[in-house]
């Protein structure tokens, strides 16, 4: 799976939920080898400001048509510029990067996918492939837990139920589905139905991922958590996207993994969660 650099062309872009955009890009090379869970570094705008490319996970991959889709939320200047791109705009890209979600290798009673907010982005392609290749993937039940702060932030997910996926929604304010965090919804559904998935796939805010990691370790259920970070290069050169890793021999010693090359998919136990210093996200206000 060689990495490459190419210009992607905007085919279509639409706002699918509040400040959330789905961007379809034509790709000659990256789409051919991209796998669910991997990501692409995408230039938001020509020139040097913003300077760096932004990492985006693949939301949909259609190699036979040479198409890629990313789903992103406008959180700063880079994503704002991206949201203004019209069809036929060419955006320089580097990819596919990072590791990918591993499919179940043994017969599986069920898997759970947990998405918090824009964390739905990388789970879509994985979920569709799990559902469409059910016999080959040996997965009986697919439970999808999808939460956001409010209903307006949820992207349309009608198609999932027709694929035989059990969908469970939550919003922090109760404007749709369960009122509360998606992790609480997941835990209550799991407890009520005596559901113990064979694998948990999860993507969302860091605190949510921490909760999923703790649940996964406590219930001895393997997990694949898609994590994010600021990064400059995406290819393991800048070492900017460091996350602390546990050092069982010497808990005080520092050791770091890098989201771009060791991830973005990590198992629950591979991150020293309590060593991460979280920063509250800045509100999207251009003063």
């Amino acid at each position: 799976m060689a990495k490459c650099q190419e210009d992607l062309q905007v085919v279509h872009q639409e706002e699918v939920a509040e400040r959330t955009f789905r961007l379809q890009l034509s790709s000659e090379r990256i789409a051919l080898t991209a796998r669910p869970g991997q990501f692409v570094m995408l230039q938001a705008r020509p020139g040097t400001d913003p300077l760096l490319k932004r990492p985006f996970s693949f939301h949909r991959i259609v190699p036979e048509k040479g198409l890629l889709e990313i789903l992103y939320r406008v959180v700063g200047r880079g994503t704002w510029h991206l949201s203004q791109c019209a069809p036929e705009t060419r955006l320089n890209a580097v990819g596919p990067l990072g590791n990918c979600f591993a499919m179940p290798t043994e017969r599986s009673q069920g898997v759970a996918l947990i998405a918090g907010g824009i964390g739905v982005a990388p789970l879509h392609e994985l979920m569709v492939r799990l559902a469409l290749n059910r016999p080959k993937n040996m997965v009986n039940e697919i439970h999808f837990f999808y939460g956001a702060r409010t209903a307006a932030e949820l992207i349309p997910i009608l198609q999932y139920e027709s694929l035989g996926i059990s969908v469970h929604c939550s919003t922090d304010d109760g404007s749709r589905g369960y009122k509360g965090f998606v992790t609480q919804l997941f835990e209550s559904v799991a407890a009520r139905n005596n559901l113990l998935p064979d694998m948990v796939y999860s993507c969302g805010p860091l605190l949510m991922q921490y909760h999923m990691a703790r649940w996964s370790l406590a219930h001895n259920v393997p997990s694949q958590l898609s994590l994010e970070s600021l990064m400059a290069c995406g290819i393991g050169a800048c070492l900017g996207c460091a996350l602390p890793a546990p050092q069982p021999d010497d808990p005080m010693a520092d050791k770091y993994l890098h989201v771009c090359k060791d991830g973005p998919i990590f198992q629950a136990g591979s991150i020293a969660w309590t060593k991460i210093q979280t920063q509250p996200a800045a509100p999207l206000i251009f003063l």
């Binding site: 060689a2 990495k3 490459c4 650099q5 230039q43 040097t48 400001d49 913003p50 300077l51 760096l52 490319k53 320089n92 580097v94 970070s229 600021l230 990064m231 400059a232 290069c233 290819i235 393991g236 050169a237 800048c238 070492l239 900017g240 996207c241 460091a242 996350l243 602390p244 010693a253 520092d254 050791k255 770091y256 060593k275 991460i276 210093q277 920063q279 509250p280 800045a282 509100p283």
Partner: protein, 326 residues
């Protein structure tokens, strides 16, 4: 016939000499922006580079700083990686063989907390097959000990260069920080202590804060600024160093394209290092080499040496010249 003209149609000669070091072209990659080379092998032909300067190596592995380690600013990037590296033993056994096979001159950037560590590193790397030169890092702003502490004092800088010089017969490049009152003093001290070349600049000490959380944007609070934002500072430093010393100078700072690279060469830098641009465009160095070649063809120059250091420092207003045209 004008010696500069290149009517033969042959591709221009891009080769340069930096003291004892001969490079096929003046475009290198800067330490810390190119890993150990293998990270970029999918994207470009490493043999087309003048040289690869690998990520700074210390005696023992270093974990680096806690995250967040990066923040993007206007046309710039502030980093506080903290010199994360695999250490000299793992470098020699795991990282060096790949680059040696690529047949590209490899320059090893070294850093230490003490004079003894610099000396020990120089002695371990001396004469190792595949290494073309050592670059002494006395300019990293992101670690508490060593690094920039040696680079901001002429006596300390001279002591590091001497310590390395005693342990190696390899060419030595000394990489300077711009975070000093007078970079010429440090450059003179390094040359008098035996460095073969100077590279400048390392990153500019910088910080960024968030008004909503009222916190710094880097865990280390202060980091080093790189990218297009620092090119004018880098040009000024390179200019000053060139005036102060006779040895070859390598220009570094904010080079994003061939024009930027040519600006440093125009001042008199024998070569350049491309850093942050590698993150943005992993193929940029190959494109810069081609761009320089094209420039020399357009200008009718047979060799890059005919362009290096040809700055005419009498500044004229651009319109004044046009106004004089008949």
């Amino acid at each position: 016939m004008d010696q500069d003209s290149n009517a033969t149609g042959r591709p221009p000669d891009l080769s340069v000499e930096l003291g004892p070091l001969r490079l096929k072209n003046p475009v290198m990659v800067a330490s810390g922006t190119f890993g150990y080379g293998e990270e970029y092998a999918d994207f470009l032909d490493l043999r087309q580079l003048g040289a690869v300067v690998v990520k700074g190596i210390s005696l023992l592995p270093r974990p680096g700083n806690p995250p967040p380690r990066l923040v993007e600013t206007a046309s710039g990037l502030i980093n506080a990686i903290g010199l994360e590296n695999v250490g000299v033993e793992a470098f020699l056994s795991q990282k060096l063989p790949f680059l040696r096979e690529q047949q590209v001159p490899m320059i090893v950037n070294i850093l230490g907390n003490t004079l003894e560590e610099y000396a020990e590193l120089a002695s371990r790397l001396d004469g190792v097959d595949g290494i073309a030169a050592l670059e002494i890092n006395i300019s990293c702003p992101n670690v508490k000990k060593g690094g920039v502490l040696f680079g901001t004092n002429p006596e300390a800088a001279a002591a590091v260069v001497q310590a390395v010089r005693r342990e190696t017969s390899m060419p030595i490049i000394t990489k300077l920080t711009p975070n000093v009152t007078d970079i010429r003093e440090i450059a003179r001290a390094a040359v008098n202590a035996g460095t073969d070349a100077i590279s400048c600049i390392n990153t500019v000490a910088a910080m960024a804060v968030d008004v909503f959380s009222r916190r710094p944007k880097l865990a280390n609070i202060i980091g080093g600024l790189s990218g297009p934002a620092i090119k004018p500072v880098a040009l000024r430093c390179t200019y000053e160093v060139l005036q102060a010393v006779e040895c070859p100078v390598i220009g570094i700072g904010g080079i994003m394209n061939a024009t930027d690279a040519l600006e440093f060469l125009l001042l008199g830098a024998k070569a350049v290092q491309v850093g942050t641009a590698n993150f943005v465009n992993p193929q940029v160095t190959n494109q810069i080499v081609k761009g320089i070649e094209r420039f020399l063809q357009v200008e009718g120059l047979a060799t890059i040496e005919h362009f290096i250091g040809t700055l005419d420092s009498r500044c004229v207003f651009p319109f004044a010249e046009e106004a004089c045209e008949p």
